[in-house]
């Protein structure tokens, strides 16, 4: 009797695990830096050569490991992060699987040096392709240094799929940016081929974002802070001016872990609907905390995905938190010019500037890095920081100097506090706000006001549904049928009547009136698909919103239409009462600001 099934030797199992965890040098960086963060390091240095293909070195000042731990850490499923089964339900560390180190060690020439503070000497372990070659004592500061050389040297297939050094370095840079934003309290240094591409000091989130995203983007960031039902959302989101064409600047973290989750992204985009154009993505850095028992991060070895116990709750909490900020259109009132320069900078800022100056004098002129990291080289960058988070979200914050009545109890809104200059071409309203010339598109403004009013009315009244003479049979998939059954009541609330008709067929016997003239079955499918993946549906709302936007667009002043000053004042006043006043329902901006400085530049006065 021949034996066909073998238990694989450990070197092979490690290689298989590496296939899941380590895709490219950036994955190594992610795993190792996360280990460093879990080890309470607050200074982390990452160095790569040739995009990480030749060398990756990660140095931290964390608590280090003893000789025994260091050797054990290279075994598979060996971890200090969880001990018992129940720990899996409440994971608060970034890692927990105990797979990263042995996996990386099995596909590279690997060198681990570590010292605990209690131990006078450190331990250095050399591993080659998963085999320990040498273990010796060494002298080093507290912490851990891991050197990974010749990644994938024994897995030629993987090696072949690596891109050029520049591309891989770019991926590493992106990973570093994500990690740096996730922990503003940790200093990061990132060196590529001997060039320092990023050096960020321990600071707060806002400053870290400025360093990671560049100061232009960072001036338009607004603070989000909300917490409801155990889910808290904190961070910064951008206004409509600083949008990107990809999701690359959407940094979302769940319990400190960077995730790229459909649910989260959907919630963010829903909140931004009508604020930015379709196909544009905002800059966000959001930290979502949910009780550890409410999510499962053990979905995929790289942990880019998570599962929520209660999807719709997280979705709605996030969308609500963002809308809360966006509806006030804080970017209207918050401008870099109005913020005091950081003259009274704290010791931190001072240290930073010194460091930056030193840096600038020491280093050779260098190419601007591909990701917006190296603001430390920009000495002037210090003065242009965005306002402190405490001030960020407040409407009408810095009082306009011309405001006549300083003792007024109820502060005027942004729009009504402006001085009306007049109308241009009977289409645009010109106003003065402090040292700014504000141009308002009167059609877009009144459209938004009308739309918001219609929406309120619609929300207050029930949805009327038109019953069908010939009920339509809809063939669904197994999962759609289950969803239809589960959400039958919710669907009835928005006007759909679905009845099971045996097997995977359901009968659609009533549709909401607004959808009565289009194909109801398609809308039902869209809604079911959304319910299945997100536990909540916006397809119907979207349809309603589109319709409302169209009605709003046609019901207000269009094109050339002279307005007298009282009408303008009334429009401005109602804009202050309107949520999301800064953009029309289609996402176009309502107002444009020309600063005095810009005007002076036009007239060559500067």
């Amino acid at each position: 009797m021949s034996q066909r099934i073998n238990i694989l030797p450990e070197t092979i199992t490690n290689k298989i695990a590496a296939g899941e965890v380590v895709e490219r040098p950036a994955s190594v960086i992610k795993e190792l830096v996360e280990n460093a963060l879990d080890a309470d390091a607050n200074e982390i240095l990452v160095e790569i050569v040739a995009g990480g293909k030749r060398l990756i070195r990660i140095k931290d000042n964390g608590h280090g490991m003893s000789r025994e731990d260091a050797l054990l850490s290279l075994e598979r499923h060996a971890t200090s992060k969880i001990r018992t089964d129940s720990d899996l339900d409440g994971i608060m560390t970034l890692g927990f699987r105990g797979e990263a180190l042995p996996s990386i060690a099995s596909i590279s020439r690997f060198r681990l040096a570590t010292r605990e503070s209690s131990n006078p000497e450190g331990t250095e372990i050399v591993v080659e392709g998963g085999r320990v070659r040498e273990v010796k004592a060494c002298g080093m500061p507290t912490g851990t240094v891991i050197t990974v050389e010749q990644l994938f040297f024994n897995t030629p297939a993987r090696l072949k799929f690596l891109r050029s050094a520049e591309t891989e370095a770019g991926h590493v840079g992106d990973t570093m940016a994500r990690l740096a934003i996730s922990r503003p309290d940790v200093g990061f240094v990132f060196i590529n081929d001997g060039r320092e591409l990023m050096r960020v000091q321990r600071s707060d989130l806002q400053r870290r974002l400025t360093q990671a995203l560049g100061k232009d983007a960072a001036t338009d960031l607004h603070c989000v802070a909300s917490s409801a039902a155990g889910i808290s959302v904190e961070g910064y989101i951008s206004g409509p001016a600083a949008v990107r064409s990809t999701t690359a600047a959407m940094f979302t973290y769940i319990n400190g872990r960077f995730v790229r989750d459909r649910l989260i992204q959907h919630a963010v985009m829903q909140a931004y609907r009508g604020v930015i154009d379709r196909g544009r993505y905002p800059i966000v850095a959001l930290f979502i905390s949910v009780p550890a028992g409410e999510i499962d991060v053990n979905v995929h070895p790289t942990k880019h995905e998570v599962r929520f116990r209660n999807q719709s709750q997280v979705h709605d909490a996030l969308q609500g938190a963002l809308e809360e900020v966006l509806r006030r259109s804080p970017w209207l009132t918050q401008r870099p010019e109005q913020t005091p320069p950081a003259s009274g900078a704290t010791g931190q800022a001072y240290r930073e500037r010194i460091a930056a100056a030193a840096q600038a004098s020491l280093s050779l002129p260098r190419r601007e890095p591909s990701f917006h990291g190296a603001t430390t080289t920009d000495v002037n960058g210090q003065t242009a920081f965005a306002p402190s988070p405490a001030k960020a979200g407040t409407v009408g914050e810095p009082a306009p100097s011309f405001r006549p009545d300083a003792t007024r109890s109820e502060p005027l809104g942004y729009f009504s506090s402006m001085e009306i200059i007049g109308q241009f071409h009977a289409e645009y309203i010109l106003c003065q706000s402090g040292k700014e010339l504000v141009i308002i598109d009167q059609h877009a403004a009144s459209e938004r006001v009308a739309y918001q009013r219609l929406r309120q009315q619609c929300e207050s009244s029930a949805v009327e549904s038109q019953r069908l003479l010939f009920p339509e049979t809809v063939e669904l998939s197994f999962s759609e049928t289950a969803v239809a059954k589960r959400f039958q009541e919710d669907l009835a609330k928005i006007g759909f009547e679905l009845e099971p008709f045996g097997g995977n067929t359901v009968i659609l016997s009533a549709v909401p009136r607004i959808a009565a003239n289009s194909t109801g079955t398609q809308l039902v499918r869209d809604i079911l698909a959304e319910l299945a993946t997100l536990g909540t549906t916006v397809a119907f709302r979207e349809k309603l919103d589109d319709l409302l936007a169209r009605i709003a667009c046609h019901s207000v002043v269009r094109g050339v239409h002279p307005l007298d000053n009282r009408q303008i004042a009334e429009l401005l006043r109602s804009m202050d009462e309107t949520d999301f006043a800064a953009s029309c329902p289609h996402g176009r901006p309502v107002s444009h600001v020309i600063t005095l400085a810009e005007l002076e530049k036009i007239f060559k006065r500067t």
Binding site: Q466, L469, F470, R513, N517
Partner: protein
């Protein structure tokens, strides 16, 4: 080709086919009209592949031939020409010269070879039908034709001849958009043939063109018939051919309720005006009007959160259980507009089941409307 034709005749011939030529089409030739000169007549043909029309007019033909020209531009040109005889000549490369008095136009045409084939109609297959009957029945049903292109089987009028037990033949036309249904009935004389006995769906566009033909002249008869999956209508020297909708019309008899025993009779004028008034406050897209029917009469009401509400009472005799039902006001008005009796009967079952509206003491027309639910 060269022919001379009276301006008014030419203008009328072009006017007639304007509704058929496609304004936006992927086949440029379909926005053209084909002019064909034979011995002593000019044949004007237009088609969008679904509906086609061919008419003949007297003309003085010098050389026979054919050409296609942009239908809309040619119509605009002829409309503005002086009231004299027009000389129409084709040149090389499909150019066309139009002369009228001292006016001269040179316009570019397209080769007639590419124009879709227009079937030759065999007269013996046609039967006579009263123009006014057709007109009335189209009026009573066409409003309910579905405009959603995806429900292609509802984009037309279902037409069928039914033979009663007594041997009488009834012509029936049915239209529905899935929310309401309209059935018109008329007496049919002659031989129905296999198509009408089985029932056919006449396309929406063809119906509208057919209605134009019946509008032109009150009284008289049309010739009607079928060939190769198309319906043919002939009047005088004009033929119209429409391709039948290839689809299954839903079983409408199933949705016409038979047990609606809550019946009220109401004056059509009074009811129409009331619904119109109430509809002012119901917004077309979101809100219907409500009918509350009790022993004291009908209370019709509507409300709009933005504007306010409205209510009106009409006295009717009703001695059943009181109930309330909601409708899209548009659907009620459409039905009321085509009813030609003084009073209508409304038959209900409950607030969610289909309701019937029929003219009083007449079975020529029946409408079914699905109520709305809040």
């Amino acid at each position: 080709m060269e022919f001379r034709i009276d301006k008014e005749v030419f203008l009328k011939s072009l006017q007639k086919i304007q509704g058929i030529v496609e304004k936006r089409t992927s086949m440029p030739i379909l926005s053209n009209v084909m002019l064909e000169a034979t011995d002593s007549a000019l044949h004007v043909t237009a088609t969008d592949l679904e509906v086609g029309m061919k008419s003949s007019y007297p003309a003085e033909v010098a050389t026979p031939g054919k050409i296609t020209v942009g239908a809309k531009k040619l119509y605009e040109i002829v409309k503005e020409l002086p009231n004299q005889v027009i000389i129409f000549t084709t040149k090389d490369n499909d150019w066309v010269e139009i002369k009228c008095g001292k006016v001269q136009f040179n316009i570019v045409g397209l080769s007639p070879e590419e124009f879709p084939y227009f079937p030759a109609v065999k007269e013996e297959n046609l039967f006579e039908i009263e123009s006014s009957l057709l007109k009335g029945m189209i009026e009573k049903t066409s409003f309910a034709i579905c405009n959603d292109e995806t429900k292609y089987n509802l984009n037309g009028l279902f037409t069928k001849v039914e033979t009663t037990e007594g041997g009488d033949q009834n012509l029936k036309m049915v239209a529905t958009d899935g929310h309401r249904l309209s059935i018109a009935k008329g007496t049919f004389k002659g031989n129905a043939g296999p198509e009408l006995s089985k029932g056919v769906i006449l396309p929406k566009k063809g119906i509208y063109e057919m209605k134009k033909i019946t509008d032109e002249e009150s009284g008289g008869t049309l010739m009607f018939g079928f060939m190769d999956n198309s319906a043919v209508i002939k009047r005088g020297d004009s033929y119209m051919v429409m391709r039948l909708v290839d689809g299954e019309f839903p079983d409408y008899n199933r949705v016409v309720p038979v047990a609606n025993n809550r019946i009220i009779t109401i004056n059509k004028e009074v009811f129409t005006h009331s619904v119109r008034r109430m509809a002012i406050l119901s917004s077309e897209k979101f809100k219907g009007i409500m009918l509350e029917i009790s022993n004291t009469g009908i209370k019709i009401s509507s409300s709009n959160p933005e504007l306010g509400d409205a209510m009106e009472e009409i006295d009717v005799t009703y001695d059943g259980e009181p109930f309330a039902v909601r409708f899209n006001a548009r659907y009620l008005l459409d039905v009321l507009a085509v009813t030609d009796t003084d009073c209508i009967e409304m038959k209900f079952k409950d607030e969610l089941s289909p309701s019937i509206i029929v003219p009083e003491k007449s079975d020529s027309f029946l409408a079914v409307i699905m109520p709305m639910r809040l």
